[in-house]
């Protein structure tokens, strides 16, 4: 299960914790929409210990939607488990290298 902690600041951050699978869509989307401000939002993956292709697909879809709406998105602190799957699924190429800070 995915949990989120929202830090509303001048540069909002959503801390993701737990597991990202087919079940994470609503939680992830709600948290990002709740947090996003004029400066966009940062997603911190430091607490994600599992992600599969469905969780990745949901994340990619969210990134593309945010970009379409002009909401700046930043991604940081990928764990090894996330990095391995994201690299295999070529996520950086799909959503844009410049999102990863």
């Amino acid at each position: 299960m995915l949990h989120t902690i929202i830090e509303k600041d001048s540069e909002p951050v959503v801390y993701l914790q737990g597991e990202m699978d087919l079940d994470c869509a609503e939680t992830l989307r709600w948290a990002v929409q709740e947090a996003a401000g004029p400066a966009g939002v940062t997603l911190d993956f430091g607490g994600v210990r599992f992600v599969d292709s469905s969780g990745t697909g949901i994340f990619v879809r969210l990134c593309l939607d945010m970009q379409q709406r002009g909401v700046p998105l930043r991604i940081r602190n990928l764990t090894p488990a996330v990095t391995q799957v994201f690299d295999m699924l070529r996520v950086r190429q799909l959503v844009g290298e410049d999102l990863f800070v």
């Binding site: 597991e19 699978d21 869509a25 966009g40 949901i58 970009q67 799957v85 295999m88 699924l89 959503v95």
Partner: protein
């Protein structure tokens, strides 16, 4: 912030192009026996007599030259054809797309990419296709350590947790455990998305092997996601599930037919 070119919104809707006949894409697996020069259907429908003869000839050629061959044959009953010599047999993988095509801007993998992954895995002995009798024989082996029903996305986390505990009890090392759990989760998710929405996950103890069995009673491996537009706000399938399974599991066996799909995921203990 400037969007990466590949991240531009879809200009053309996902889904089929004109010319598809409404039927889903299908996977067919045939096995050519060089000793008897016969071609047997392992998965999917039997090809027409003319196509059967053509495939047998191609399989014979592939075995003669010990060549892994990938062909594209537009306009025939097969779009993509892979011939994989293996001992005295030649495995033949065919995809008929029935006119469905990945459209511009769709970042999901193409059917030919998926087929190539499957064919390469067969070629290196990692993946085998089972007919119904082979599957039945395999399912009589071993001692069941765990059984979980997969009934919705909310059941996946508990299934992963119990599976990890069971694998640890069988002596599977931590890193290998993570790999098996990831592969099994991909398979279980497929039962929800493509396999009729309900499935099961079992852990079986075999000599020197932990086997995860993921089964559903859905319509079989039909690449249905290739003509269903993803739900609003969702991109649940990019066509990478099988790639992740093949990457993380030692040996995989697959049976699929119109009454369901079963995957056997074997990890050496």
């Amino acid at each position: 912030m400037k969007a990466h070119p590949s991240a531009l919104p879809h200009k053309i809707p996902l889904g089929p192009v004109a010319g598809h006949d409404g039927r889903p894409a299908t996977l067919r697996v045939l096995r050519y026996d060089a000793r008897t020069t016969t071609l047997r259907t392992v998965l999917g429908n039997d090809p027409s007599p003319g196509l059967r003869a053509e495939i047998a000839t191609r399989a014979h050629d592939a075995m003669t030259h010990r060549a892994f061959i990938v062909r594209t044959t537009p306009g025939s009953d097969i779009d993509e054809l892979c011939l994989i010599p293996s001992g005295e047999y030649c495995e033949v993988l065919c995809i008929h797309s029935n006119g469905w095509r990945r459209t511009h801007g769709d970042h999901r993998r193409s059917l030919s990419e998926i087929l190539s992954d499957l064919a390469a895995a067969v070629a290196c002995g990692k993946l085998r296709f089972l007919d119904a009798s082979q599957l039945a024989a395999e399912l009589t082996s071993g001692e069941q350590m765990l059984y979980r029903e997969i009934t919705g996305p909310g059941t996946l986390a508990a299934a992963r947790k119990h599976l990890s505990t069971g694998l640890e009890a069988l002596g599977i090392a931590a890193i290998s455990r993570e790999h098996v759990v990831l592969g099994a989760c991909e398979a279980a998710t497929n039962t929800l998305i493509h396999g009729g929405g309900v499935g099961s996950l079992s852990l079986i103890k075999l000599p020197n092997t932990a086997r995860v069995v993921v089964a559903d009673t859905g319509p079989g491996l039909t690449f249905l996601n290739w003509y269903d537009k993803p739900a609003a706000g969702m991109q649940p399938s990019m066509g990478y599930g099988y790639r992740i399974i093949l990457e993380h599991i030692d040996r995989i066996s697959l049976h699929t037919c119109p009454s369901g799909t079963t995957l056997l995921l074997d990890q050496t203990t």
